[in-house]
Symmetry: C2
Subunit: 638 residues, 2 copies
């Protein structure tokens, strides 16, 4: 991770400021039950009661603690780029409250502290204790990295020691693993700081043990009266990715966030232990997710039932789930695979795709309301009257009883620089394009540069080298969506070498000016013919941005609109509107609309009659910020 990469303007800075000024303060109020007309969180309440500050009972869900953890992690990232002593003080106090609740043996989970410690670790499958520990570990590591303060980290290490003494391969220990994966990847983050093999080994144990026969979850279930919510579903233990050992898993199944957190943890363990068969599984699962089970928005997990993956090419646009958290988890997995599998742009292409579309669509432009579900086709009437689509909301909601998505959005957006830049030896990878100031220490010395860009609206990326070493290499991603580009270094056109989808710049000197221009055409995209729902349809993209139609611009019955697939793409006209929610490039295009002057439900097939219309397209992530209405990504084509 780069300590000194700072996003300084334009697109991503806007989002980061939304997180800092809206989401983080709002969530703190929510965690303290001070938001009017919102379900109480009980999160801080639970810690106060568990720590003896006040009397009361545990409130909220079994994983309520994790909301605080994700908030703390986001705060740590924010503090890295925005000095804010008051926020840091609030965080310190929260950490005091957390640590005050810790039990003498290290245990730290308010649900069991308040509901009876004798039941702890008896339902790993469903009760999220290890999941909460994972999130606290991530927060503690982030907070330590930013502030140097280790109070929470030390407390968590003690808790990990306790877990390690109770769960593991040895006789007398519970041979279990987390019901909701998360601790695996968190333990690796801890290990990177502590270098304590015990932490690595515990993560490896969880990964290795999962799905082995006899199945721990089945045995635990039996002890708990055979309560298995998914018993009569298509999942069985696949919901938890525990249907078979992880190395044998061929396709992504079950709850998508669990799956992608697990794949991230698997990749971490594989990398740390040079485990080839585990890395093979990661490569296979990455391929399945991104080439067979991913929406064009980077949304994953197509089914609301169990918030789950289903099977290859099953990507309905209207009954879709595509949870914001699942796309965020995909970004986690993508970053790891990029780092562990040779720095290939196929990983960072997906990272970009999901960030600009399926992730940020989760938040309203004012940072005050959120989507769990990110559909590609919405008809408000269908959401209202058809239970299968009832989860597909046409308005973002203020906050959720199960508030996983907003704080998850907060932590990924506030740490965007960690995704934009990757350092490896003397090479600095530029994965995402954002106005920034970067100063980092390579093996050979300092590298510093500024980036000026209005990406994703404009394809020009200007890099000014402020400091470099002779050995430094700057590797700039050539996006997969881009066919044509030009490179000018110090006003001279260059043909730079390319490696794994990255343009390489070497022999950099102070004062060098690199201008990369990515040609940003509007592209009509087709889906693989195995995607039943998208046969005869196209989606519209420009750069990394997926576009959509909204009823407010185009009238109702968007499904009756046809685009001419073979028409010159210049039929799209661009209009950069500075007033459109902080500025966005909008598209306009002539199109055809099916005339429907027949009231019969079925009739002899005729040639379709069309009217000429003009369509207006907005970036997908901006949908549902105006009047309620239909929305559509995949339109019929002629």
């Amino acid at each position: 991770m780069l300590k000194n990469a700072k996003i300084t303007g334009n697109f991503w800075q806007n989002f980061m400021e939304l997180i800092r000024t809206q989401v983080v303060p709002y969530q703190w109020e929510a965690l303290n039950d001070r938001v009017e007309n919102a379900e109480p969180s009980y999160c801080m309440h639970n810690f106060h009661v568990a720590g003896g500050k006040k009397q009361g009972k545990h409130g909220g869900l079994v994983f309520q603690d994790s909301d605080l953890a994700k908030w703390l992690e986001a705060v740590a990232y924010v503090l890295e780029w925005h000095h804010d002593p008051l926020l840091e003080q609030i965080a310190d106090t929260a950490i005091d409250d957390i640590v005050a609740a810790q039990q003498p043996d290290g245990y730290l989970n308010t649900y069991y502290i308040l509901n009876g410690l004798e039941k702890r670790f008896t339902n790993l499958k469903d009760n999220h204790e290890l999941y909460c520990l994972g999130h606290f570990l991530e927060a503690a590591v982030a907070y330590y990295r930013t502030t140097g303060k280790d109070k929470l980290l030390k407390a968590l290490v003690k808790y990990v020691d306790l877990v390690d003494s109770l769960i593991g391969a040895e006789d007398g220990k519970i041979h279990g693993y987390p019901g909701h994966q998360e601790l695996e990847l968190a333990l690796i983050k801890l290990y990177e700081i502590t270098k304590d093999k015990k932490h690595l080994n515990l993560a490896k144990y969880f990964v290795d043990e999962r799905g082995k026969t006899p199945l721990f979850f089945a045995e635990e279930s039996e002890k708990n009266g055979n309560h298995n919510h998914w018993q009569h579903s298509v999942f069985q233990y696949g919901y938890y990715q525990a249907n078979q050992p992880v190395r044998e898993q061929q396709t992504a199944v079950g709850h998508s966030v669990r799956a992608l957190y697990m794949y991230s943890g698997m990749a971490d363990v594989a990398q740390q232990t040079a485990d080839k068969s585990l890395m093979q599984a990661c490569l296979r699962l990455w391929k399945d997710v991104t080439t067979r089970q991913m929406y064009i928005t980077g949304g994953v997990g197509s089914s609301e039932y169990g918030e789950s993956f289903t099977f290859g090419y099953d990507l309905p646009n209207d009954t879709v789930y595509a949870e914001t958290c699942a796309s965020i988890a995909l970004a986690f997995f993508a970053r790891r695979m990029f780092e562990y599998d040779g720095y290939k742009s196929e990983y960072t292409d997906v990272l970009e795709q999901t960030l600009y579309n399926g992730i940020i669509s989760g938040m309203a432009t004012d940072g005050k309301s959120f989507f769990y579900v990110n559909p590609l086709e919405v008809v408000p009437k269908a959401s209202e009257k058809n239970q299968l689509k009832h989860h597909v909301k046409s308005r973002r909601q203020k906050w959720f009883g199960c508030a996983c998505c907003p704080p998850n959005l907060a932590r990924i957006v506030s740490s965007l620089a960690n995704y934009a830049y990757t350092q490896n030896g003397d090479t600095l990878y530029i994965n995402l394009f954002a106005e920034s100031e970067v100063k980092t220490q390579l093996n050979s010395g300092n590298l510093a540069f500024n980036i000026t860009t209005d990406y994703p609206w404009d394809g020009t990326i200007s890099i000014e080298i402020l400091e470099s070493t002779p050995q430094a290499v700057l590797a700039v991603r050539k996006p997969g969506w881009c066919d044509k580009f030009s490179v000018i270094v110090n006003e001279k056109t260059c043909e730079n070498p390319m490696q794994n989808g990255y343009l390489l710049f070497e022999n950099l000197e102070k004062g060098d000016k690199i201008v990369i221009t990515l040609q940003m055409s509007v592209l009509l995209i087709e889906a693989n013919a195995n995607v039943r729902e998208n046969i005869g349809k196209v989606a519209v993209m420009r750069g990394p941005i997926v576009y959509c139609l909204e009823e407010t611009d185009n009238g109702a019955d968007l499904h009756q609109i046809f685009l001419e697939k073979n028409a010159d793409f210049s039929l799209f006209s661009l209009n950069h509107d500075k007033n459109f929610f902080g500025g966005a490039t909008l598209l306009e295009s002539p199109a055809k609309k099916l005339e429907n002057d027949n009231s019969k439900l079925y009739q002899k097939a005729q040639s379709y009659k069309f009217s000429d219309i003009n369509t207006k397209w907005i970036p997908y992530y901006l949908w549902a910020n105006r009047e309620e209405g239909e929305m559509l990504c995949w339109v019929h084509s002629l």
Copy 2:
């Protein structure tokens, strides 16, 4: 109803014989828990225990009694066209067992007799007492009409008296109505025999009271601890069609079988009481169902959730429900609207459409397995791996724990002559075309004729008049699917007058020979452009038969097949295969199949590349009688 209309051969006789020789005996074994490897029904067991024949507890669902009722009704119809003293004796014994269970005050429901009579009529919303009574009434009326035996009928009249004394508008009575409608239409059948106004009035009360404020179901729910399964669904009380008074209901909502039984009962009451506003509601709901919420197969109720209607034009082919029972209920409603609204073919067209497709698709060709759900698009992998489609089975099942569909199929198919022919004064309507012998008494005297036809495979219908009166009118439906037809009477071409879609034949004399030839072209059908799922697709019909593609004939990935919409329909070749499940006309046609040589999930849109293929089409109702595989009705068109 015609006493002497007998189906004597070909298409429908095959189905009727299946019902007689397979379904009726099999169901009797099932009702007596003598089917190996099937869930026990407990149905006769419950009656034997309730009647004191043996000791035990109640088994099965709260509406288990109704299975016996539907079986008895089917037996009554079978006995009308097939002399079978042994079957009649079994039915008599069953009736003895039913009556033996009746309580001194007339009450007759084994669930409450065995679980505590003090709880009877305390949960009309969910516990199906009045529903079971309705089915027993229908059985009793049918059995009385066929055999003249009134033992069951008398017992039921006593039970109705009890219900009438406990439920109704008067103070001190329960101001309730059935949670599952059925008794309304049954009471009218009873009234037609008894002419007792009390029976009509009770039906009218149920219809009038439903959905009125304050809502009975809400009050009852409160008394029962607010148990309302649909409280957090899109339905609320709309599941029971109790969301508003029936006369105010604008669209079909909620559980589709309940809805259509109710509409049938409403039509009966409206007819008997000359209630115009009630008939207006029936006309409105008929229109909504058949012009906005019906699959081309005559399937209705598009959502598995609550087995329900959703809203206009919401007709997904793959997550579909379209329960066999709902199509049967639609046929009930159609017959009534035909009789009460001026004998128009728009009603009998729908009757034919659903009978030849969505109803008989419910049964395998050997009469031994059944579909609840009748999809228009099936991918076995999707049913296996996507919970949203888990209810869509690719194989018919032997019998169901909730065995509503098989006996419902038995009762409609075994009484087919009652749908084929309708008598009104001196007019005899021929609604459906089946090889038959008909002899009936009109106002003016006897009318007798034979029909010879190989319909639906051949459009020629030959009618030979055996006896007639000068006043007799034969009205023969000109199907809506038929544009061209010819009429030859005694070898002379005629242009007969047409009324409400029926060809009229007057001045009939013994020996007259009428030959009607309906031109049976293969038609490509398009759906209304408001049906999102069918944009750019066509369905294939010939006569009343909807055709489909099966994987076993056409390979996998049926969704990649395209038909040329504008091509001459003669691109279809017909092949009447006598060996194909009792004989069926199959279709073949050239088509295009999308080439999919790209492994990318998304790419720049290209012109589609196609291969030329030959497609083979089978009648929809015959699908899933061979190897398991994909099936598709609506195919893409060019």
